[in-house]
Amino acid sequence: MTTPGLPEVVTIACLFFIFLTPLAAAGLTLINAGLGRSHSAAHIMMASLSALSIAGLVYFAFGFGWQGFIGGHAHILTLSGKAWNWIAAEPFFFRKLALDGSPAFLTALLQVCCVGLAALIPLGSGADRWRLRASCLSTAILAAWTYPLFAHWVWGGGWLAQLGVNYGLGHGFLDVGGASSIHVVGGLTALSVIWILGPRRGKYSADGMAPAIPGHNAVLIMFGCLLALLGWFGLNSAGAILFVGGEPSGSALIAMNTLLSAAAAALTAAFITNIRFGKPDASLTANGWVAGLVASSATCAFVVPAEAVVIGSIAGAVVTFSIEWFELRLEVDDPGGAISVHAIGGLWGLLALGLFGRFNAPVSNVAASLPAAAGDSGQLLAQLIGVATLLGFVLPLTYGLNWLLNRIYPYRVSVEGERQGLDLHELGAGAYPEFITHTEDFIPR
């Protein structure tokens, strides 16, 4: 299958950006490991590598067939005279896909990285209690079904992207770098997994206390943040070229906005924690940084740097309070902060695009055969419809699939395994064998 090619310089730039994206996965992995406990550090690294491998292979086998690419084959449903593109109809295993530098193949290459990134997000939330095999099965479902379906609607010229041409809602639902399809989908999957798993032992006591279980390595967390920045540069820039028809020269603005958004979010989180607790909190600052990156994924190509600072600042503030709210008020035990950082940060980014977005260049997020969008008005409504779809369709779907899987293969590790730590219980060796370990970790209580 062939599609109109990109100019060679655009293809090379796009490839360079795609090659940067695995750094985002490396960053998230280190952050998840650092925010977890030391006796499960090797387990979460192993789970991350497994998730990346499974997500890539399952997406290659089935996922791309459902997701497709802009202008590819799809199943169309006609409602009141408008064509709704529901799901792609590409062959599985990349059959009939031109294995060259075509936009279709570049999309497939970027998506193999993106689906792995989405699969990493729930791992930090299920830390210290999610069995390795269960997380692998959950990843397979995400990569085969949940992710490709929503990603098709946004990035494959699906009905959300068509809201502009079909119903005059701005340029349709827009998401440059995966705030919705990667981060909100991953964050909502994390929420489902936490609901199914329940909290870690000792997190909530009968007297109403919720003692903090701090992450074990702030160095890993901070280094992960720096790696993630590079990955986000690539992800946002490649997404802009492939999914909204951006030019490589636009990547300078995208990188600037990405950096400014993350910086503003991190400083806001540090400032707020400094005021509330007397000292800046390292893990919340890191979470603020990533939330800024996530929010920038939606907006980076369509705002000016000053707006990126505002968007990042709000993301940092929202995440700081949201993490505490989820933990203390809603009793959601999320060691990695994935729900606040990825789901809430992503939702804010999507709404911010509707509020701040300005469209100086043509946006190409649907098949070239369709007419251009009527104008910019209605963009906020298009973004709201996307948000409603994430909450009203993706959350029930991912919860239902994970609930069913948990019935077949229980997700939670045994009480003994949780006490011992997942490193020893599931892998037979710890991440830090030369460290002195408390003997109580090995004695059944």
């Binding site: 609901w195 809603l330 779809t389 909450l391 009203g392 919860y399």
Partner: protein, 59 residues
């Protein structure tokens, strides 16, 4: 309560979809989209409440 909560989430989404297909005026369409999101918010509250940990299970 959990089942009803998820049902409300899906119902809110259908309300949003219906508003796109059936309504033409931007004002009425926007109102129905907001109404759909409000229904979803209600469903989300119910799902969160259904997952709160019973006191006897806290350890």
């Amino acid at each position: 309560m959990r089942f009803v909560g998820f049902l409300l989430l899906v119902a809110g989404w259908f309300l949003v979809l219906a508003s796109i297909v059936l309504l033409a005026s931007p004002v009425s369409r926007g109102s129905f989209v907001f109404a759909g999101i409000a229904v979803e918010a209600l469903g989300l509250i119910m799902v969160f409440r259904s997952h709160s940990i019973p006191r006897e299970e806290k350890r």
